[in-house]
C-alpha cells in the first residue's frame, strides 16, 4: 500500500517543528495534540502552504518536497479543508464546487457523487453567506474532494462549529472514511473526534511527534497514557451482534469477547467503536458469581506501569488480542500479586458506544 513519508524541520521564533512520520496510505490518521503543538503547521507544510526549507515529503510515491525541490501547492494532488469553511463569497455554491473541478478536468459524475456523499444537493444555487456553518463545511469538504486528491488534509474541520453542527457533520465524515480510498490526515484536539474517526494517530507535543501508530495500540501504551478526554482509556472496534429487547441492551462483539451496552437503537451488524476508560476497568483473580458488573472478560496481564499519582498503577491486559487498560491502586495490584503473564478476570463497569 502506498503511503505518506514526511520529514520536516522548521524553526520559528517561539517554536520548532521537527517530525519524521510514516503514515498509512488509507484510512484516517489523526494529528492529535494541544493547541500550539504544531498540528496545523505540519499540515500546512504538507500542503506546501508553509515552506519548511529542510524537508522531505512523498505521497503515494510522488515526491512533493526533497532538498531544494519544492512542488508548489497548486501542483500537489491534495484536497485541503480549512478550519473555517472559506468558501469563495463571490461565487455561488455550485461554482465553488466547480472551481477546482474546472482546473483538474474532473467528470460531472464525480460532482454528483460528492454532492450526494455530503448531502448538499439542495444548496447548489445558494450563496455561502446564506448557509449555516455546518452546511458550509460540508460544501468545503465536497469542494476539496472534487480535485481528485491523492490525500485529503483536514485542519480541525469541526472546531469552529457548535455541538449540534458537529453532530450533523460527523456522520458525513464517517461516510468519507468508509468510501474514500485515499488517506485522510485529520488535525484535531478533540478526543471525541479522534476516538470516533481515527484509525491511526500521531500525537504531537511542542512540535515533535511523541507517539504514532494504530489508534487502539497507541491508546493502550502505558509509557505515555494519552488522555482522550479526562482519562486514559482504549478504543475497540466492534460489531453489533445481538439485541436484547427485554433488557434494552445490545451486544457489541469484538475480537476478545462480547460487551453488553445500553440499547441506543443501532442496527445489528453495524460496525461501531467502543470506548473503555481505565478507571472503569477493575481486575480480579477468581470468577465473581455475584456482581452487578455486566461485562466480565478473561484476559492476561501484559504490563504494569506507574500512573501519574504515586498511589496508582496502570495495567495493560490482553483480552483475546485486544488490549484493555485498567487503573488500580498499587495496594490492590500488590495484594492480587499482579505480574505479566497472570490470567485475570476483567470487569468493565462502563462502556461507551461511539459512532
Amino acid at each position: 500500500m502506498k503511503s505518506v513519508e514526511a520529514r520536516f524541520h522548521l524553526d520559528r521564533k517561539d517554536f520548532t517543528l521537527q517530525v519524521d512520520l510514516s503514515l498509512p496510505g488509507r484510512g484516517i490518521t489523526a494529528l492529535f495534540g494541544p493547541s500550539g503543538s504544531g498540528k496545523t503547521t505540519l499540515l500546512r507544510c504538507m500542503a506546501g502552504l508553509e515552506h519548511a526549507p529542510d524537508g522531505y515529503l512523498s505521497v503515494a510515491g510522488e515526491i512533493w518536497q526533497d532538498g531544494d525541490y519544492f512542488l508548489p501547492t497548486h501542483k500537489r494532488r491534495l484536497g485541503y479543508v480549512f478550519q473555517e469553511a472559506s468558501l469563495f463569497p463571490h461565487l455561488d455554491i455550485r461554482r465553488n464546487l466547480e472551481y477546482g473541478m474546472r482546473r483538474t478536468g474532473i467528470r460531472r459524475i464525480e460532482l454528483d457523487g460528492a454532492i450526494e456523499l455530503l448531502g448538499i444537493a439542495h444548496l447548489l444555487e445558494r450563496r455561502s453567506e446564506n448557509l449555516s456553518g455546518g452546511e458550509r463545511q460540508r460544501v468545503a469538504i465536497a469542494r476539496a474532494l472534487l480535485v481528485n486528491p491523492g490525500i485529503l488534509l483536514m485542519d480541525e474541520p469541526l472546531a469552529a462549529l457548535d455541538l449540534a453542527r458537529k453532530q450533523e457533520i460527523l456522520p458525513y465524515l464517517e461516510k468519507l472514511h468508509e468510501d474514500l480510498k485515499i488517506p485522510i490526515l485529520y488535525v484535531s484536539h478533540s478526543p471525541d473526534e479522534v476516538a470516533r474517526l481515527a484509525d491511526h494517530i500521531v500525537v504531537l507535543d511542542k512540535g515533535r511527534a511523541v507517539a504514532q501508530g494504530s489508534l487502539p495500540e497507541t491508546l493502550a501504551r502505558l509509557d505515555l497514557p494519552i488522555r482522550l478526554g479526562e482519562d486514559a482509556g482504549v478504543v475497540i472496534e466492534a460489531v453489533i451482534g445481538a439485541r436484547d429487547e427485554d433488557w434494552h441492551l445490545i451486544r457489541a462483539d469484538f475480537a476478545g469477547g462480547e460487551l453488553w451496552v445500553r440499547d441506543n437503537g443501532m442496527p445489528v451488524g453495524r460496525r461501531v467503536r467502543v470506548r473503555i476508560l481505565a478507571r472503569d476497568v477493575s481486575l480480579s483473580l477468581a470468577h465473581q458469581e455475584h456482581t452487578s458488573i455486566l461485562n466480565l472478560l478473561q484476559g492476561t496481564v501484559i504490563e504494569i506501569a506507574d500512573d501519574a499519582h504515586p498511589a496508582q498503577s496502570l495495567v495493560r491486559v490482553d483480552v483475546g488480542g485486544t488490549p484493555i487498560v485498567s487503573r488500580l491502586t498499587k495496594r490492590s495490584a500488590a495484594s492480587l500479586g499482579l505480574a505479566p503473564g497472570l490470567p485475570v478476570r476483567v470487569q468493565i463497569k462502563t462502556v461507551a458506544l461511539i459512532g
Binding site: 500542503a47 506546501g48 502552504l49 508548489p72 501547492t73 497548486h74 501542483k75 491534495l78 484536497g79 485541503y80 480549512f82 473555517e84 472559506s86 469563495f88 463569497p89 463571490h90 472551481y99 477546482g100 482546473r103 483538474t104 453567506e129 446564506n130 469542494r143 476539496a144 480535485v147
Partner: protein, 225 residues
C-alpha cells in the same frame, strides 16, 4: 456655455478617462505588490507612490516639467524615440496626471487587496489555481468594490487637477486647456456667469462622486443576513 467651454469639458473627460484606464493597468500590479510583499522596499515604494498626496502640485509639476524638458531624462528619452518633447502637449498632460493621481488608484486597491487576506488565495492554490490564475479568478473579483472606488477617485481627482496642468500643459485651447483652467480664465476675464456654470457643474459632479464612492464601500449595503 460657449464652444471653448465644451472643448475644455471634452478634453477634461478624455484626460480623466485615459488617466484612469492607464492607472488601472499600472496601479493594480503596484497595489498588489504593496499588499503582498514582505520586502523592505515596501515602505519606500509606498512613500513614493503616496508623495503626490502631500506635495504641492506646483512642486510636482515643476520637477516633471524639468524631467520632460530638453535637458531632463524623460525629454532625452522622448526625443531619442522621435516623439519630440512632452511639455505643453496632451500626452504630457496624461503622463503628469497618471503620476499625480497615482495614490488615488493605488491606496484603495492596496486596502482592498489587504482586506482579502491570505486565506482565499491559499484555498485557490489547494484547488489547483496557479498564483496568476488565483489573482484573476479570486483576488480581482473579491477586490471589486476597491476597483470601483479607486477608479471613481482617480477619475474625479484628475478632473479637478489645476496646478500640475498649468505647469505641464499650460493653457492651450483644444490641446491642454481643461475645465479647471477654463474656470480660471473666466474668472480672470470677469466672466462670472460662465465661471458659475462650470464651477457649479464641478461641485455637483464632486458631490455625486462621493455619494457613489460611499455606495460602493463594502458593508454599507447591510449585506449581513
Amino acid at each position: 456655455m460657449n464652444d471653448a467651454d465644451f472643448s475644455a469639458l471634452r478634453l477634461t473627460l478624455e484626460l480623466a478617462g485615459l488617466t484612469t484606464v492607464l492607472l488601472l493597468l499600472i496601479g493594480t500590479p503596484i497595489a498588489w505588490w504593496l499588499a503582498r510583499t514582505r520586502s523592505w522596499l515596501k515602505s519606500p515604494v509606498g512613500a513614493v507612490v503616496t508623495l503626490p498626496l502631500v506635495l504641492p502640485p506646483t512642486v510636482l509639476g515643476f520637477y516633471m516639467l524639468i524631467a520632460m524638458g530638453p535637458g531632463g531624462f524623460l525629454g532625452h528619452l522622448t526625443q531619442s524615440l522621435g516623439l519630440g518633447l512632452l511639455p505643453f502637449t496632451f500626452p504630457g498632460l496624461v503622463l503628469a496626471s497618471v503620476i499625480y493621481s497615482m495614490p488615488f488608484m493605488v491606496q484603495p486597491l492596496q486596502n482592498a487587496f489587504e482586506a482579502i487576506g491570505d486565506r482565499p488565495l491559499e484555498v485557490a492554490a489547494t484547488l489547483r489555481a496557479s498564483p496568476l490564475n488565483a489573482f484573476f479568478s479570486v483576488a480581482i473579483p473579491l477586490a471589486k468594490p476597491g476597483f470601483v472606488t479607486a477608479s471613481i477617485l482617480s477619475f474625479a481627482h484628475t478632473v479637478g487637477e489645476f496646478g500640475v496642468v498649468l505647469m505641464i500643459g499650460g493653457n492651450i485651447p483644444d490641446k491642454t486647456r481643461v475645465l479647471s483652467v477654463q474656470i480660471y480664465n473666466h474668472v480672470e476675464a470677469l466672466e462670472y456667469t460662465q465661471a458659475h456654470w462650470l464651477a457649479g457643474g464641478m461641485l455637483a459632479f464632486s458631490f455625486l462622486v462621493l455619494v457613489a464612492v460611499n455606495a460602493f464601500k463594502p458593508g454599507s449595503k447591510g449585506k449581513e443576513p
